[in-house]
């Protein structure tokens, strides 16, 4: 192992693995008090608190449904807009790019009130679709950006080749573009799910309490001094992006030219 690899492993251990381990330990032990003279106390009460939250499963399910919806829409819009931005040239393109980024610059809460009004009129308030749509606001600028860069990296020639060979747009997408953009798909998945999952205020306003997602149960508990319960919630919270990531990874395997991990790769 060379020195670079060593530093990487050490840093990863220190900055990623250790905190997660601490979190896991905290979630299964009593709140630890400095100088209390007590050692590690194993307990699973914090997880029992978690399970006893009556709407936990429902909320988890809603979070997954909303997250999946947001992800699918993000992929569709991101790929379409990203490709258009990197291949077409037209008047006012820089302006359009700036507009696409604007939702990141304007706080969502500032427009939430107006959007809520709009959603009520459109009959989308208090529905899952409304929540999915509002979650697009903080996520889609990133997706467009990522796919834009990704298409730019593929280069013009890579995109011209399939056309020359007579592929339709869809065939081109699935056989050339997507397989080459796996890293972008992974980033978008993770980013989108994590952002969507942590939206508290806009979910509660647009979802109106009909759509109860995980943060709506989890965030009020940030007010408690019981660190064990919070750790247990955080562990549960982290499971969703992880699970979604694995599912998307499985979908990526379905793309052509994917190397199956169980196949001999010699």
């Amino acid at each position: 192992m060379n020195i670079k690899k060593m530093t990487f492993v050490m840093l990863a251990l220190l900055l990623f693995i250790m905190p997660v381990l601490l979190l896991l330990l905290q979630s299964v032990s009593s709140p630890w008090r400095f100088q209390s003279g007590e050692s590690f106390h194993f307990q699973i009460e914090s997880f029992q608190v978690l399970w006893s939250a009556a709407n936990l499963l429902e909320a988890t399910l809603w979070s997954i449904v909303v997250g999946a919806g947001v992800l699918i829409l993000n992929m569709a819009v991101g790929i379409a807009a990203g490709k258009a931005l990197s291949t077409l040239s037209f008047k006012g393109k820089p302006l359009l790019e700036a507009l696409f980024l604007s939702p990141v610059l304007i706080p969502v809460l500032a427009v939430a009130m107006g959007l809520h009004l709009f959603m009520i009129q459109a009959g989308l308030a208090d529905t899952a679709l409304g929540v999915i749509l509002i979650h697009l606001v903080p996520t889609i600028p990133y997706s467009i950006r990522i796919f834009h860069n990704s298409y730019a990296q593929l280069g013009k020639h890579m995109l011209e080749q399939p056309v020359v060979l007579g592929a339709g747009p869809l065939q081109q997408l699935f056989t050339v573009e997507l397989p080459l953009m796996k890293p972008a798909i992974r980033s978008v998945t993770f980013l989108t799910i994590v952002i969507s999952l942590s939206q508290y205020a806009i979910t509660s306003i647009i979802g109106g309490g009909r759509i109860v997602t995980l943060p709506m149960i989890f965030f009020p508990f940030l007010d408690t001094a019981n660190t064990s319960v919070m750790a247990a919630f955080a562990v549960w919270f982290a499971m969703i992006p992880l699970a979604m990531y694995i599912i998307v990874e499985a979908f990526i395997l379905l793309l052509p030219y994917s190397r199956m991990p169980w196949r001999n790769t010699r």
Partner: protein, 412 residues
């Protein structure tokens, strides 16, 4: 272009909504409350009632989910759904729905008091007066109690029903100090002897603000000079000066020399839990019990109050203007006010919170049950709490203290 169109349509809709007729549900509730109670209860049969409330305490959540909801189902065939949401957001949602003219809302009951109630009432987000229609309120509560008539100085007008009451207490660790201070002067000398062992949450925080109001009460000639009168900065100028100078004097001996104040009560609680500071505080005189049981606070935690007394307030249940189940909401609130529900709420198993019910009005055996409840060692006696009770001041003091504290104490 599309963006422009969207913006335009939003503005247009907002304008249209503003012109539109605001809903006429207020008459609906008064029509309902005129009906005989048995009719209301039978109309509530089979309904689903949504109770929107802050959800950050598992004891409170379990009281609703495990104690109240099954009994409502059994006795009235009402499905009670608890929805966790911050009160501020609930009001914002109602506000927007009001603007949009949405007369069929998703909220049937809200839990609120103080500033939030003032806001809701001023923007007419509440359905109207209903308290006097509740049989349990008439029978078991002192209907003329000023604590139910006004809420942080705002006249309640029967638009909210008293659900519980809490008093502000300080907590200390018995193993670290023998006798807690009994006045703010004693607290000051204690802080001088034990630098870095005391602090309070900043004025933005609900609890921190209440601490500051206690100092204000203490520095006034009589606490009633504050709570009986509306905010007049000139009148209380002398009291205010004393308050700020007291806070500045203790500042250098606070935790981290007063350079940083905890942002929330939870932060202060964690400091206390770690032994960094030796005192914490908070509304609900029994709140330490569950924290001790969870192992967050040391078992030797006890509570104390200081001269001139401890501020307490009542919190309420109310019905928003666009409820679709006024009968169901009334039945649920009436149930929440019943002696059985209040007794279960008082017991430390779930919530452990004090009751606004009048013990004298209860039947003999019920009164005995209330008196027999052991609230736990960390809770002061009922007598002591009642003797030192001080009412809240007007809501405008809260804002005023917030601003002044930053100017006078933080920026000095």
């Amino acid at each position: 272009m599309r963006k422009k169109w969207l913006l335009f349509s939003i503005i247009l809709i907002a304008l249209l909504a503003a012109c539109g007729n605001t809903s006429s549900n207020e008459t609906a509730l008064s029509e309902v409350t005129e009906k005989p109670w048995s009719d209301i209860e039978s109309a509530a049969d089979g309904t689903t009632v949504r109770l929107f409330m802050w959800g950050g305490d598992e004891g409170i959540n379990q009281y609703i989910d495990e104690w109240a909801a099954p009994r409502l189902k059994e006795n009235y065939n009402i499905e009670l759904e608890r929805v966790p949401m911050d009160t501020g957001e609930i009001l914002q949602k109602l506000q927007t729905e009001k603007k949009a003219g949405k007369s069929e809302g998703t909220i049937d009951i809200i839990w609120l008091n103080g500033e939030n109630f003032k806001n809701a009432k001023e923007n007419s987000l509440l359905a109207g007066s209903f308290v006097n229609a509740l049989p349990n309120f008439q029978e078991y509560y002192d209907t003329d109690d000023p604590a139910f008539q006004t809420d942080f100085g705002t006249s309640a007008d029967g638009m909210e029903a008293p659900w519980g009451k809490v008093q502000f207490v300080f907590h200390y660790d018995q193993s670290k100090l023998d006798t807690p201070p009994s006045s703010f002067e004693e607290l000051k000398s204690w802080v001088e002897q034990n630098p870095g062992k005391f602090t309070y949450p900043n004025a933005e925080d609900f609890t921190g603000n209440a601490f500051l109001r206690h100092v204000l009460y203490a520095k006034a000639e009589e606490p009633s000079a504050i709570y009986e009168q509306s905010l007049d900065e000139e009148r209380i100028a002398a009291t205010a000066d004393q308050t700020w100078s007291y806070l500045e004097e203790i500042e250098s001996n606070l935790w981290r020399k007063g350079k940083h104040y905890p942002n929330t009560l939870a932060e202060l609680d964690r400091l206390y839990s770690q032994g960094e500071v030796w005192m914490t505080m908070g509304y609900n005189e029994a709140r330490a019990e569950s924290l001790i049981e969870e192992g967050v606070f040391p078992e030797t935690t006890r509570s104390f109050i200081m001269e001139p007394g401890s501020i307490g307030n009542t919190h309420f249940l109310s019905i928003p203007f666009n409820t679709t189940e006024p009968e169901g909401a009334l039945t649920v609130i009436n149930f929440m006010l019943s002696p059985e529900a209040q007794l279960a709420k008082l017991k430390p198993d779930y919530w452990g919170e004090n009751t606004p019910i009048s013990l004298d009005k209860l039947p003999e055996n019920m009164r005995k049950k209330f008196k027999a409840v052991e609230r736990g060692e960390s809770v002061l006696s009922q007598k002591k709490l009642e003797e030192s009770f001080l009412p809240e001041s007007e809501a405008s003091y809260v804002e005023w203290i917030k601003d002044q504290w930053f100017n006078e104490v933080v920026q000095q």
